[in-house]
């Protein structure tokens, strides 16, 4: 099958999935969301004001029309305005996406490259002291709470040693760099442990396959086996693991952004949850759902590029 036809077909599948996601969001928020009038009008709300605000928000319209609004927003990205801040949501998302991306993408890239590299090394030296130390190190780093990394890192490296900015963010290159360095390092510290354990497992699985024994029997060097055969064959689980995380990078890092005062999407989401700002929560949910679907299509296409055995059908 032509790759374009395949992509088009997969994208068409997206439509019913989005309709379903919107239905779930609609049901959840219509059942659990508090009365928007109280959120918008605050403690001095009068009955007349509540009636008027419900009318203005279209909450008196039929449920079908309200559902249709959510579906429409998933395709047009017109999410309306925040109940709490009255800002246009798409503008809030645009403004938050840059700080989030400048933190999460470099940190994600470094942690992935580092994770794969370390895994290849431990696979190469499997069973050795180095392998054991790495595994113990990974487990130890995973056992410490992310908050501990953040609090200690901020106090010691930023405050005591003065190597980094304590918190904040500046827009534009290269001004943002000093602000994202420490949170990015913490991100890498937090991710490398689980990443290495995962990649190591799949690589070791591969190393014990029959074709590797065949390769060794043919006299191929361990380096060629590892980089040419093992790495290539582990690409499918690696791609699945990596690409499927990308949509969540868009959401930002809730704790890191909050502690380092980075005005990203994580902060926006957290504020929205704290103030029951339904339109913003809805927008972020719809966006992540759409991003997830799109990136799963990308994953499928990438499979065909790295593994000719995978056929688009």
């Amino acid at each position: 099958m032509n790759i374009y036809a395949y992509i088009l077909r997969r994208l068409l599948y997206v439509i019913p999935v989005i309709l379903g996601v919107c239905a779930i969001i609609f049901l959840i928020f219509n059942v659990v969301a508090p009365d928007p009038a109280l959120i918008i009008l605050g403690k001095h709300a009068t009955v007349e004001q509540i009636v008027e605000i419900r009318e203005q928000l279209g909450l008196n319209r039929s449920l079908w029309l309200q559902y249709f609004d959510i579906v429409k927003s998933a395709f047009t990205f017109d999410f309306g305005r925040s109940w709490s801040t009255k800002q246009e949501i798409i503008q809030m998302i645009k403004a938050g996406a840059i700080p989030s991306a400048t933190l999460s993408f470099p940190a994600f890239f470094v942690s992935t490259v580092l994770g794969i590299s370390i895994s290849l090394l431990v696979a190469f030296y499997r069973g050795s002291v180095f392998d054991k130390i790495t595994v113990v190190g990974c487990v130890t780093s995973m056992s410490v709470s992310s908050l501990a990394y953040i609090l200690f890192g901020q106090w010691f490296f930023a405050y005591k040693l003065g190597w980094f900015e304590i918190s904040g963010y500046d827009y534009g290159f290269p001004y943002f760099i000093p602000y994202i360095l420490l949170p990015a390092i913490i991100w890498v510290m937090l991710s490398v442990g689980p990443d290495v354990r995962f990649y190591r497992t799949i690589m070791l699985d591969e190393i014990y396959q029959d074709y590797i024994r065949t390769a060794r029997a043919k006299g191929l060097s361990e380096r060629v086996i590892l980089f040419k055969h093992v790495l290539k064959n582990t690409m499918i689980p690696i791609i699945t693991y990596v690409v499927i995380q990308i949509p969540f990078l868009i959401l930002g890092a809730l704790l890191l952004e909050s502690f380092f005062s980075i005005p990203g999407l994580g902060s926006i989401t957290l504020n929205a949850i704290n103030s029951s700002d339904f339109p913003v929560i809805r927008a972020m949910t719809v966006l992540s759902a759409v991003a997830y679907i799109i990136f799963s299509v990308i994953t499928d296409v990438l499979y065909t590029l790295v593994d000719p055995r995978v056929r688009l059908s």
Binding site: I40, K86, Q87, L161, S167, F260, P263
Partner: protein
């Protein structure tokens, strides 16, 4: 190992990266912090402390709070003088200052800010009442201005709100005279003119920016913000066309030194304000200690490290030139009695229970000994608070107090608590509220009174109070404006539940005094009436008075003129930065 030690030590003194935008060393910049997101910059939506403070850097109102006077006092801001008030107390006529200009903005012809006129206040008040906009400060003028509620109602169903229709309650008599006509006397109305909700906006700017007006603040204030963005930092620059406004020369005794030093200096005193939005306590605390912030409220987890048990600043902070400021908040916590119940109408019983309750231990246990035990209901800082007054029925855990409480209990008809049924104490469901309930139970037990503690959700407790299903309950009240009336109304008979008077205290003499004072302007006579009511409330004990909580603020020595205020809006124009002192202090940090 030693080989690495030196380079690491050397490195540790240097920041790894130096491409951050740093402020000019010779420019006076205020570095402030807020702990929450700032919603936007539209005065009619500034209903929380954060938005209101930001809005007030750009916009101004007819009145403001005098920065250096306590009790709080209103003073003219955009008004030429305090208003002329008609004899019947219904008409307030203000002369608006001449020559005041809005900030330059493209919404004005040629981009030049035009002069502020009386009509701008009429427009701004109507905008607050606009039913389509649902301004969050509507409650401050709801039902108070003649014809405004009718105007609002009429426009609710209209296609377009008619701002041209003249409303009797707020009108411009000429280009620089604005008149407010009240539906009934309400001297506290003036406080609403110092609230950001009623600050002056220009119609052409609102219309130019439409829905985006909240991101384009254009006022007459000392600072300008070309565009508001919801980010981690807001940077204001000084308004080059700001009118000639001078630092006040008069002040309360405690602030006289500030007034003497700065009297007559042109405002604002700094060139720029940087507001950092830092939500978490640790980065806020560390940034302050590094000198990146000029002052902060002490985060609760750092309180013990910053303040000694004797309420002094920790030595390591004081040697860095950090100062500690403490001021009571305008609030009161209390345990109310339901006076509809015959049992609790017994004044001696109430007095006995109050004496049995050790407020000092309560203060230590629940407020780190930071609060001020309340003697009556009006907090310090406003007229009506009686300095040095001690409530004769205030318990301090002394043997004499318990003995007196026992005596009063016997006189009430319940010697050693005999014959008295178990009382019920309702409280909200938080841990601290429950602990306070348990503490109260233990205190009453000293004189033989039994108490049952019942926890409720906040709406449940409110419902119980309204339906009179309570006996005793723990609650608190914070001031809406700095007037004892706002507290005394809690004991005014006609305000009984479901009104604000939850205890149902209904003393004809108190009611008479309240009714007289409520329509009086702020005069020594009114203060005398307030004080009389305060003493009466202390004697009668419709509540067991709790505490007035306190603000603890740390500031760096280079920040000049900072005083704690409950009404911060607009106060940063009075702050100064001593650049030489800052340079020296930063070396120590």
């Amino acid at each position: 190992m030693k080989k690495f030690a030196l380079p690491i030590l050397a490195l540790s003194r240097l920041p790894l990266f130096s491409c951050t935008k740093k402020e000019e060393a010779n420019e006076k910049v205020l570095n402030l912090v807020v702990g929450s997101e700032v919603k936007g910059m539209d005065p009619i939506y500034s209903n929380d402390r954060y938005s209101s403070n930001e809005t007030a850097r750009v916009y101004e109102g007819l009145l403001e709070y005098h920065y250096l006077k306590r009790p709080y006092q209103l003073t003219p801001n955009l008004a030429e003088a305090m208003p002329e008030v008609s004899n019947n107390g219904l008409t307030y006529t203000f002369k608006v200052k001449k020559g005041v200009k809005f900030h330059d903005d493209k919404a004005f012809p040629g981009g030049k800010g035009r002069e502020l006129v009386a009509e701008d206040f009429v427009y701004s008040i109507k905008r607050l009442a606009d039913p389509k906009l649902q301004g969050l400060g509507w409650w401050v003028i709801d039902g108070k201005l003649k014809g405004l509620n009718e105007w609002r109602e009429k426009n609710t169903s209209a296609e377009k709100v008619n701002y041209d229709e003249v409303v009797e309650g707020v009108k411009a008599l000429d280009s620089h005279t604005v008149q407010f006509n009240l539906t009934k006397p309400f001297p506290q109305f003036l406080y609403s003119l110092a609230m950001t909700f009623t600050f002056a906006t220009a119609k052409e700017v609102v219309e130019h920016y439409g829905n985006e007006f909240l991101n384009h603040p254009v006022g007459t204030g000392p600072f300008m913000l070309p565009e508001f963005k919801q980010t981690n930092r807001i940077e204001y620059v000084v308004n080059p066309n700001y009118r000639e406004k001078k630092f006040p020369c008069d002040a309360s005794e405690e602030f006289e030194a500030i007034a003497k030093e700065y009297c007559g200096k042109t405002l604002p005193l700094v060139k720029k304000i940087v507001v950092n939005i830092i939500k978490e306590d640790q980065p806020r605390w560390l940034n302050f200690q590094k000198g990146n912030l000029d002052y902060i409220g002490i985060p609760k987890d750092n309180f013990d490290a910053a303040v000694t048990p004797t309420n002094e600043l920790a030595t390591d902070l004081s040697t860095k030139g950090i100062d500690l400021l403490i001021q009571p908040s305008l609030d009161v916590t209390y345990t109310a009695f339901n006076l509809d119940l015959d049992l609790l109408k017994n004044k001696k019983l109430r007095q006995a229970l109050s004496l049995a309750y050790d407020i000092d231990t309560s203060n230590k246990l629940f407020y780190n000994n930071r609060a001020l035990p309340a003697q009556s209901l009006v907090p310090p800082g406003i007229a009506g608070y009686i300095k040095g007054y001690e409530n004769p029925y205030r318990g301090h855990g002394k043997e004499a107090d318990i003995a007196k409480a026992k005596k009063l209990l016997a006189e009430a008809g319940y010697p050693e608590g005999k014959g008295l049924k178990e009382l019920t104490y309702d409280c909200p469901s938080s841990t601290v509220s429950r602990q306070i309930g348990e503490y109260t139970k233990q205190q009453f037990a000293q004189i033989g009174v039994k108490l049952k503690v019942v926890q409720n959700t906040w709406p449940e407790l409110q419902k119980k109070i309204d339906k009179r299903q309570v006996e005793l309950w723990g609650i608190a009240w914070g001031a809406d404006y700095p007037d004892a009336e706002n507290f005394l109304q809690l004991l005014y008979g006609p305000n009984r539940a479901p009104g604000a008077n939850g205890s149902g205290y209904d003393n004809p003499e108190f009611n008479r005094l309240y009714a007289s004072a409520a329509v009086m302007q702020d005069t020594p006579e009114r203060t005398a009436l307030y004080e009389k009511m305060v003493r009466m409330a202390a004697e009668e004990m419709p509540w067991i008075y709790g505490v007035h909580r306190q603000n603890y603020v740390l500031k760096h020595s280079w920040l000049k003129n900072y005083v704690i205020t409950d009404f911060e809006a607009g106060s940063e124009q009075y702050l100064d930065v001593d650049l030489a002192a800052k340079k020296t202090a930063l070396e120590k940090l």
